[in-house]
Symmetry: C2
Subunit: 451 residues, 2 copies
């Protein structure tokens, strides 16, 4: 039977199984979901066993467990380590979801659920591709290891240590990851660069209690005034980050790189219209793809303090909060960047205001050479299924652990993504296009067989 026929006849059952998995609300950022993390890891282990993999193991870390499995029966052939994650992003604002985030539904050949594209749906492709080859051929053409973690959405805090500790067990010739996107429908891409990430939380405190603006207004510090002033100071009027030294380690774009970016043929008007925006916005002097692929950012992800209810309330709030993440490129140092932001904020705190900064995630940017033979074979595999060879691109996202994989395991990392940028990852109504689920299965089979 051809793999096309195989996947066609198994499609309904596989989608049912995917829905099962998407029903588990394995949100790593919220401690109240710790039980769901355990459930998701167990579900995964069972699924890997059913697929025919060996040595399936739920390996504890100081955080959430890593699910491991392998199939090492192809002596003389390369070993591919598949990496992915079974945790998902939080779901708020919940009221903007058309159907509940953990009740998967297929509409218009798209499956809607939190984790559908990031990353449960894409991990599922690898399991089902392996299951298909084992079912059809009785063995695999390469050696396979899987390493599936549950902390990617909180910056993979336990994984670097886990990689060091299990360096021999995980040794491989290439790391294979599906957690990125096509350029657009029908145009596959292999990402050869990812931005780094660092994050922080700030809390601004003023008086020891909320105060009435009649009795105190105009004569005491207001935590909200203090925080908006601090936050507004982080950018200048030209869209640049105003923190001293922030751009250290950022490579200037060469004419060649600009040429590469423009090859992607991104239509900025189409993006703008799709987002319902009157104008895009960003650092002066760069195009959309350059801003996302090659420039660092500092983004406010959440700001809150004071009254949020209906109507008005004449209160001077005693505390205010902000959550901030930076995307980093080139040689920018995550720790130095956090320290610089902390210094910038501390130098600007109003009298009477206390500022607390909590540094969180830290991940370096990641770059890989597209001329490596294994990346070339991956591009060919896409070509045979999509009818278009994959372009080598740079992605604005971060998979914080990529640099660690490359360093600890000393192997090239192959980012073969099947998502699309408009699939609302990290937002309400996340979904995954079944067209790329189907083609993804064939592409992975093709890639493994070509090695």
């Amino acid at each position: 039977m051809s793999y096309e026929s195989y996947f066609q006849s198994h499609r309904e059952a596989q989608l049912e199984e995917l829905k099962q998995w998407l029903r588990i609300p394995s949100i790593s950022a919220l401690s109240s979901h710790a039980g769901d993390i355990t459930t998701a890891a167990s579900w995964l282990a069972e699924s890997l066993t059913r697929a025919g993999l060996n040595n399936v193991e739920i390996m504890p870390t100081v955080g959430n467990p890593v699910v491991y499995a392998d199939y090492i029966h192809a002596p003389g052939k390369p070993t591919v380590l598949v990496y992915g994650h079974y945790d998902v992003q939080p779901v708020d604002p919940l009221h903007l979801w058309k159907t509940p985030p953990f009740e998967p539904e297929i509409r218009d050949e798209k499956i809607y659920a939190r984790g559908a594209t990031d990353d449960k749906g894409q991990v599922f492709i690898h399991i089902k591709a392996i299951e298909a080859i084992l079912s059809e051929e009785g063995t695999l053409p390469v050696n396979i290891k899987l390493c599936l973690e549950g902390e990617e959405e909180i910056g993979s805090p336990s994984l670097p240590k886990f990689l060091e500790t299990n360096k021999d067990k995980l040794s491989c010739d290439a790391v294979l990851v599906s957690d990125t996107s096509l350029l657009e429908r029908g145009r596959p891409a292999i990402c050869t660069g990812l931005r780094g990430l660092c994050s922080l939380e700030i809390v601004v405190n003023t008086a020891n209690t909320d105060l009435h603006s009649g009795s105190y207004g105009g004569a005491v510090p207001n935590s909200l005034h203090a925080i908006v002033e601090l936050l507004a100071s982080l950018h200048d009027s030209r869209g640049r980050v105003a923190v001293e030294g922030f751009y250290e380690g950022v490579p200037e774009l060469s004419p060649l790189m600009r040429e590469e970016f423009s090859k992607q043929g991104v239509d900025e008007n189409k993006i703008r219209e799709g987002l319902g925006l009157e104008a895009l916005y960003g650092e002066e002097g760069y195009s959309f793809v350059e801003r996302v692929g090659a420039r660092p950012t500092l983004e406010l992800n959440g700001v809150y303090g004071g009254f949020q209810g209906e109507g008005s309330k004449t209160v001077i709030p005693k505390e205010a909060h902000a959550k901030i993440t930076c995307r980093l490129v080139g040689e920018q140092d995550p720790q130095k960047t956090l320290d610089r932001i902390e210094k910038h904020l501390n130098e600007r705190v109003q009298p009477g205001v206390r500022l607390t900064v909590k540094q969180m995630e830290k991940a370096n940017a990641f770059n890989i050479d597209p001329s490596h033979p294994i990346l070339q074979k991956a591009a060919d595999a896409y070509g045979s299924v999509y009818g278009t060879r994959a372009l080598f691109t740079k992605d604005g996202g971060s998979i914080p652990i990529m640099a660690a994989f490359s360093r600890v395991l000393e192997s090239p990392v192959v980012l073969m993504g099947f998502g699309l940028d408009d699939e609302n990852l990290h937002a309400p109504n996340e979904h995954f296009n079944l067209e790329n689920f189907d083609k993804g299965l064939l592409t992975i089979v093709q890639f493994l067989k070509s090695l």
Copy 2:
């Protein structure tokens, strides 16, 4: 029996009755509490009837009803109209309350509950003072009318029209209000000035969905960046409001007024320490009492958008919100002030950002001449009970309806407050000191008998 003995022997029963009233969560800002507003009005009507007042009536308005009662049996004597409000502020953040806001508890001779001091506790003093005189003397030494509304905490939107419509029914020689504070424990004050108020809400919208900061970060507008920039632009570095024309109509402080303010003998260090602040903050060149009593403000009462949960989330939020109130003084025009702020914000909106401004409350500042005989008698009444004659002060709060009372009923307004500034009105753990409950009862009896 002396009134001291009367109130002593009735104290326990009266406090139980006050607790009953404080249990009704009559929050006017939240439409979900509409039923509690009705309950509070009914409770009040029953209480006025029990006190011996006549013509008790729950009078509908387009908003929440006004509770009316009178006792007109002293021909040739002045008529005093008692005004107060039975609605209360919202209670969030709920987790900061030591005991639930609508389960009143007496600790350390203070009664804790939302509305304890603002304004249910103070309204209750008037009812019980009248009840005491009627019980002891069979009649009242003056003519009394009560007009108790349920929309004060949302800016009294229905009352001006109600006053116009019922001008004859409400006609009086003085309006008596207890909704302000003593200077500090043992130092009574009669407020002869209140700040005006205006309020607005703003919403900032960017893309039509929340976006992933990896795929879009640095290349699209972020609603939080836009809002903090707008909000930070509202003040300059010297604590002044930076909106053009904002200070129009604000009287300069004369040396005489500064002298009056300094008489209050406010210890700024004590205030600062009580609030747990390293420094006070405000417009340069003014003292604490001047800032609160005679200078206008623009305060952020709430700012929110994006992720507020535990941990971090790499989201670019599509919308952000802010709630703003201004305290106004002198001849500042509330409508003009709102229009100026709206213009200021509209002129500063980033490309790609949509701003919506909703104007809300509008109330003029209020000032009254302390030399009026009825204010002098009020000051004497305090003197006979507290052992210290009341000072004439200016308060930073707003009772938006005071100017309307003064204008429509053409009567002086006497603000005899029994609260204290540190009683957490509008904040968690609101309370009312029973010392001033006891002295308040005697002061009001004394005042009414002196007219």
